[in-house]
Symmetry: C2
Amino acid sequence: MSIEKPNTRVLPGFMELLPEEQIEFDRIKTVIEAVFKQFGFTALDTPAIERVAVLDAKKATKKAVAAGVPGETPAPESVEEDAAAGETAKQAYRFEYSGVEQGLRFDLTVPLARYSAEHFNDLTFPFRRCHSAKVYRGEKAQKGRFREFYQCDIDVIGHNELSVAYDAEIPSVIYFLFKKLDFGKFTIRLNNRKALSGLLDHLDVKSKTKEVLRIIDKIEKISADEFNSSLRDLGLSEAQISTLLDFIHIKGSVNDILNQLKALGITNSLFMDGINELETVTSLMHDMGVEDSYYVIDLSVARGLDYYTGTVYETILDDRENLGSVCSGGRYDNLAESYTDEKLPGVGISIGLTRLFYQLREAGLIPCSRKTIADVIIVPFENNNIPTALRVSNKLRIEGFNVDVLLEDTPVKEKLQYVGKKDAPFAVLIGSEEEESGLMMLRFVQDKKLVKKTAAIDDLAACMRNSNVIR
Amino acid sequence: MSIEKPNTRVLPGFMELLPEEQIEFDRIKTVIEAVFKQFGFTALDTPAIERVAVLDAKKATKKAVAAGVPGETPAPESVEEDAAAGETAKQAYRFEYSGVEQGLRFDLTVPLARYSAEHFNDLTFPFRRCHSAKVYRGEKAQKGRFREFYQCDIDVIGHNELSVAYDAEIPSVIYFLFKKLDFGKFTIRLNNRKALSGLLDHLDVKSKTKEVLRIIDKIEKISADEFNSSLRDLGLSEAQISTLLDFIHIKGSVNDILNQLKALGITNSLFMDGINELETVTSLMHDMGVEDSYYVIDLSVARGLDYYTGTVYETILDDRENLGSVCSGGRYDNLAESYTDEKLPGVGISIGLTRLFYQLREAGLIPCSRKTIADVIIVPFENNNIPTALRVSNKLRIEGFNVDVLLEDTPVKEKLQYVGKKDAPFAVLIGSEEEESGLMMLRFVQDKKLVKKTAAIDDLAACMRNSNVIR
């Protein structure tokens, strides 16, 4: 009887990175978290497991609304059907433990809503939080779709009210962040749900707002004919469709668009609120130093979720428009109505980091050239050089360097292979010659040439700094 | 019909922190990760979900061994029984998805073993990895026991061989880390399983090694009588027990103990290997700059797991000995034998961060005085001061500060309450006076006194830096 070894491949839909990829993934995640901090967002960390009653509360609310329960507005919903499993993507990863039905979170918004309700009295509003963590969905197992993935979210939550000025701060965060991430030129697309909804009210098709917004959301993915016939199927007249198309296709600079919108002469108050908010938001973005060329008003941006009630955002990498939006979000009226009677309006965005990383890596935009986080590898040639190697490594750590010391008892040739594979910016080689002279051998690559320098132990740190090699 | 709100409390056994606690938790976690990096450990991030076949592989191996399958050595096992549920702590959080039995990981060692087997050809050995992440266990729901908790692990994995010098590097990491964490004086307790096992071999009770080690592991928790009678129950003679006790109770400086051990005249080769390794490890720790007063050889340290085969470590906070070991680990012969035929010896440690944080917080050792990660809060008194406030915040962010700008349209009194509650090191107040003069009002607390200074926008950053208030 022999023992069969279990399958060690990660489960389908899960991402697992090699060290050099992980270093780059972590670097990107660290940049995101640092920029969120720069804007005063405090990190939260909620359990990955929630009660099913909490996970499904919004759906319950929605069902109650459908059943005619008053005093509740429709809640966010964007559950994708998993045809294979016959269940929605968000209902996967459920189990019972200790008599409680529970499951893995499918986003970071439900946990934020629950957290805000539970800890309401201990929070200071407006409450700024960021959260970078893994979420779980029952996505179909196919390339680029993930069942476990990182979301990096920020939200500002008000109590009862939240100034529209925060709607301007959020795209400013996007601007600062994507400038820093350096994935190339990008464009933040802004719109306001009130403008769209107000127009539909003005056109007397208010009752079909949700369905129309969903069709608009698909405008880039379907043909003009499909688009028009979908609206016709909803019962819109040719005149209504034509007005809607004229509206969506208004193009130009921010000011051009705002002027054209005002010139439409639509007096619907929701519509006018939307236009005013767009004007305020874009004006404040200017005050925050967001360059004009990095954002546009795009009246076709609807965002599928009926969750959003005002400003909405999408972010497109100009050279990778095919990736779709890499950072999206918007304003919502009431975050936690399923969990508390307190009114908590908010505005936020989310980055699907795992998918973004995967796509950029596939596109060759993420080099992953760093094989180790060590700045320097210390190599004692013989075992009797280990004490000196340890003293050197200790000194360099105190000087702030990340130091890997190779302690394995192998031939020098193998040791140099290790140095070559790990490819740290520096190596310090220590053999009998170095021990005798007290001068260590420092090796690094500068201007594509291998440089060898000798330096006393106390001078190594300065020598490394002066080389300007450190990344 | 009214809608019942779901229970928003976290599930029993899960930790959820308020923002000011989370800031401190994250600070500690960041220190840990930074020190791991300083020693060249690259971070891994494996899926939280593993196949049940992978999670249970070690158990399967063990069962196969019990059933007489040759060529396999007993595998690590420390599954605690969950009396209530009738299942072991590690078997909780299992479910089926897409036809695969899967579950949440119960430690970071199984994922490391699977990862090392799966990606063997892409890794450079010795492979240094760190991993800070949540793991899941079906612990009983009681104060201080967690069902979801962070482990912060480091391991060095060799291929076929791994020098004992790495056994010295690991406690050096503990030393640097806990000095930096500043939880007070601590002591690293070192031992070597070979010394203990060799002694038992010498005493002719080799077949009972595992059981004896488990009793020794409890020595601090049970009375001397209980200890002796447990050994008697195992069949040890009074003479054997006496020799064992004499051995365990050898005390003194590292050199004293090593000399006493050598003077015992035991020629068992395993025993001698253990003594030699202890000598090498302590000598190299000295070379790494670990102060003598921070480590001892403690021959009673056994570590319950039969996983460990050489050096073992425990770390005690001197003023909080009751907390038990806060950082433990050791040397093992073969990490991934359940997953690959490659031999991968290693050495590592683990910190149970969630439990440690909880205990230190309960003991009043974690102040959580920082309410926001913002360095400065910008307060425009009126809405027409918002553009200036945004320009100021933008400038300060570029200067490297974390900036929270209060954009809510509320009375000044409420705005100052926000400033008071958030308690950032600095506040910048901007009203009509400041707009007219161009001099912003900077407020901070210095030497327990509230200081107010006026500064031009371009001088604010320097003014803040010169105050030496920033934490």
